[in-house]
Symmetry: C3
Subunit: 132 residues, 3 copies
Amino acid sequence: MKRLSIVTTNRIEIADITALIRQAIRDSGVLRGICTIYVPHTTSAITINENSDPAVKEDLTNILNKVVPADNKYLHTEGNSDAHIKASLIGASQTILVENGKPVLGTWQSIFFCEFDGPRTRSVLVKIISEK
Amino acid sequence: MKRLSIVTTNRIEIADITALIRQAIRDSGVLRGICTIYVPHTTSAITINENSDPAVKEDLTNILNKVVPADNKYLHTEGNSDAHIKASLIGASQTILVENGKPVLGTWQSIFFCEFDGPRTRSVLVKIISEK
Amino acid sequence: MKRLSIVTTNRIEIADITALIRQAIRDSGVLRGICTIYVPHTTSAITINENSDPAVKEDLTNILNKVVPADNKYLHTEGNSDAHIKASLIGASQTILVENGKPVLGTWQSIFFCEFDGPRTRSVLVKIISEK
């Protein structure tokens, strides 16, 4: 298991971690298999989407803020209930495929770490399982 | 594969199944690998979030009910279309990491089984894959 | 890794790919393990839900269009920002369990490929990992 460290500087931040995942797969020596990317935090998530236009991340953030407003009347009184809900909507992990020692990603796909209650220093855990 | 049985008592219920998953991993004898938790039902889901304050679960339920109201005009006439949609938004499975024969969870993370059309008796399926 | 080809004919389309996944698992020769189904596209997703009544897919589409309207004011100017966001809400992959060389699905469960910016010809990637 590899542990990556991610530092965020805003309350909501969607950070491209594709290069880190690519390196973790290379370091594992696994040529063919799957790679599970997991956040051990309750206000964070992993998603895969387009990164060539950064506006996509902003649009995603804006819709999430519309659907799950930060200033709604929540029962949880720590002021980050929206962040917990956003985390469950996006999901705590993603599993991708590995071939030839590399992640199998589409042309426009990047892997994103999402923090919904930053700024924080967070971990992303990576486990690569070989096909045989 | 291990099959867990979960009994719910409300229409919407978010139940902590962390102890059951911990036991399933221990029983498997796998020390390092991944664990996929899967619901074979179309109105259920698995999510990972905070459990120390039960209000987080209530806030999640309230937002899901706002976004996907039970009494919307749906084409599906069985009265549980909202439950199917909530299940797809949260997702039928989660994959977590296993180290030292234990699930790798953050300090505040618990694993939740979500039922959106209960009360029902449901199954949760667990498969642990060893790293080598 | 197996690559399936999916042709869609509408902007939003939710297509049942259960038979294709069943065949991919059979072809792999794996009897027990897990199967990760992955879309290498940023406007597509995989979900598992009910297929016996096609209205469930329509209700899901209608709610997604309400929450993430196609004609919202988006920063991304390619006209498909809603499709990217819908893809992140549903998720780029699903992992299911394999027993006796078959996918373990509930009575009412089907595996769906979702396209939110079609019509297009798309790929679905399938990797089966054996339990030992």
